[in-house]
């Protein structure tokens, strides 16, 4: 047999978007439409052609024993690829061949029921993943010991902390003994020590000739664990090769550029009133960069030309984090231009984001021009620029001396006060 574990050729997946009728999801609506159509009263509604290629002509090969990374922003097609490989959904075109006992798991804790005890859930989850009962019984003690939940194994998992829950879920998965393992974001497990343990277990899996497909936003984990990786963008493979190179490409090229300029006015986002010239992100000192210290202010800047005088409008920035969550919207509140019609000419507006506000991670910025009342959107440059916020962990940020995962959309340092009454 060949040494290929997974071979993917020309894999594509099309989703239909939107529908012509509001009642599309109801049988009553469907029947009513059918009857009207039969009676000739109303022509059949035209089929909408709104389709989205979530995956387009993706090909790659994974060797046996390889730990293979898949990276990309949200909406890049990662999860669609995983869904196809784990046979949850079917491809529209192309094929994938998988050699070996295979386990697809798109989430840790799949099949867990909150009312059941840890013990019951281990069996349930194992069965859903395709393990035989005897096999689960044989490995049961090992699974529980790895998850470190021995004391709570006969407690319903609804009483578990999220950390315990994920540990047990991962442990079942890690003891499946598959030839090929697909893991999505398992490494976002509560504490650092258990993360290391998981990674150790996964690296073991790799060394025992098992193949792992790892999908994660955690770039250091991808670089450390994977030999090769692919980068997906809008459903297509943008880059494939050694994990280190692909991660670098992802972090530095294309996807996050700290500045965009439109030297050619015909190419710039524009309408009859205003035309964008450039959008940039700078440090306090004016340096254009894609890396920012979490403690330092960040300046967002937009250059634009007013081509028709006499309109009132303001520049706007929308900030999104890497989960695609809108972090905030900022409208220009420079008093000099409030409710003031702008004469023609070139403007540069800068908004300063204070230090210790944004959380760590990638941020992408959309630039807009709008009139607030009556509302009118003039120009929109979606995701024009991006940058990354890092915390070097020196102890004077919101993190203090904590080094674990720290969720949350913003990370301000609040003003804390303590009232203390001695005994």
């Amino acid at each position: 047999m060949s040494d290929t574990a997974v071979s993917v050729t020309g894999l594509s997946k099309r989703y239909r978007l939107g529908t012509t009728h509001a009642q599309d999801g109801s049988l009553a609506g469907a029947l009513a439409r059918g009857l009207r159509h039969l009676a000739g009263r109303q022509p059949a509604p035209p089929q909408t052609n709104d389709t989205l290629w979530a995956l387009r002509d993706v090909s790659f090969e994974i060797k046996k024993g390889e730990v293979f990374g898949v990276i990309g922003t949200n909406g890049s097609g990662k999860s669609t690829l995983l869904k196809i490989l784990s046979r949850v959904t079917e491809p529209t075109k192309g094929r994938a061949i998988i050699n070996g006992r295979f386990c697809g798991l798109l989430e840790v804790g799949t099949g867990f029921h909150p009312e059941l005890t840890g013990r019951d859930n281990v069996f349930m989850s194992g069965a859903i993943l395709g393990m035989k009962r005897q096999e689960i019984a044989k490995k049961f003690d090992e699974i529980v010991a790895f998850a470190e939940v021995e004391q709570f194994i006969d407690t319903p998992v609804k009483h578990y902390s999220s950390v315990m829950y994920v540990r047990l879920g991962f442990s079942v998965l890690a003891h499946m003994d598959p030839d090929i393992l697909i893991v999505d974001e398992v490494l976002a497990v509560g504490d650092v020590r258990f993360q290391k343990k998981c990674m150790g277990k996964m690296e073991d899996v790799g060394q025992h000739g098992r193949t792992v497909i790892l999908v994660s936003h955690d770039m250091p984990a991808i670089t450390r664990m994977c030999s090769r990786a692919i980068l997906l963008n809008k459903g297509e493979v943008v880059q494939a090769g050694p994990a280190h190179d692909v991660v670098n490409h992802y972090l530095h090229a294309g996807h996050i550029q700290p500045a965009v300029e439109w030297p050619d006015p015909t190419q710039a986002p524009a309408n009859d009133v205003v035309r964008l010239g450039a959008v940039r992100v700078r440090t306090e000192a004016g340096i254009v960069t894609d890396r920012f210290d979490i403690r330092k202010p960040i300046d967002l800047e937009v250059e634009f030309d007013v081509v028709k005088a006499g309109h009132i409008f303001v520049p706007v920035f929308n900030l999104y984090n890497e989960e695609d969550v809108l972090v905030f919207i900022a409208h220009d509140r420079d008093p000099a231009w409030q409710r003031t019609p702008r004469p023609t000419g070139r403007y540069t507006s800068t908004a300063r984001i204070p230090g210790n506000l944004l959380a760590e991670g990638m941020v992408s910025v959309s630039s807009l021009m709008m009139t607030e009342d009556p509302f009118r959107l003039h120009v929109h440059a979606p995701r024009a620029i991006g940058f990354r916020v890092d915390d070097s962990g020196t102890g004077d940020s919101a993190r203090g001396d904590f080094h674990g995962r720290w969720p949350g959309v913003v990370r301000p340092i609040l003003e804390w006060r303590t009232r203390y009454i001695p005994e």
Binding site: K83, S86, E90, R95, I128
Partner: protein, 281 residues
Amino acid sequence: MASSFPESTSSSIVIEARTGYVQVGWRELWASRELLYFLAWRDLKTRYAQTANGAGWALMQPLLSTLIFTLVFGYLAKMPSDGLPYPTFAFAAILPWSLFSKSLERSTLSVVTEGGLIKKVYFPRLIIPIAATFINLVDFAVGLLILIGMMAWYQQVPQWTVLFLPFFVGIALLTALSVSLWLSALNVKYRDVASVVPLMTQLWMFASPVLYPASLVPESLRWYYGLNPMAGVIEGFRWALLGKTAPDWTMMAVSLAMVALLLIGGVIFFRRVERTFADLI
């Protein structure tokens, strides 16, 4: 292009778009029988964990129905009951009827209810409606004990015909499954299917010999009456348990043929549309 999903061997799986008719995948289904058991076990366990009196309530409904039917139809309306005491006559029908209607209702919802699993992991989807149908056997078994008690009270001793009981139980489950294969798959796309089911089972009950004996239906119409598989099942139940009158075998044959037809169609339909489940849920 091959017209079917390539058979997966133990070592190699081919994933591609399926076209044309789809195999049932018996081998895969058989290999997943433990999962079927686990799904059923989980549902039972959680159901009875959440409501301590789960089993008690499960019995209230058929018992109350029997009481009301006996009062209204047995004493007031003097409905004929083939010479049997009306309470056992009614309960012997309500038992398979609630097995059927509960299985149908639960199984119709099952695919959408298990949407979380369907979106996350692959396993033969047919297992879901099958498990949702079969777990109702537990409530049924408890009900059967009560029926035996009632029969003892009325001093009715089952004849050799009782050996046929498992057969009719099986047909009741297969009828529920055959219909819910269609409905559970349709319910993924058209969510109002689930709300039609209670109405449907209610109407269906009046089209079945639950309150009245099938002997009330004119001889010439029996053949058509048999198109409702539950007519055969319920008559068969009364015959197997209470003995008295043998069911109309022509009607029974029509019922069985109907179940077979619905079931085969249901499996094919379900397998055809299951590929879109994960995208639609």
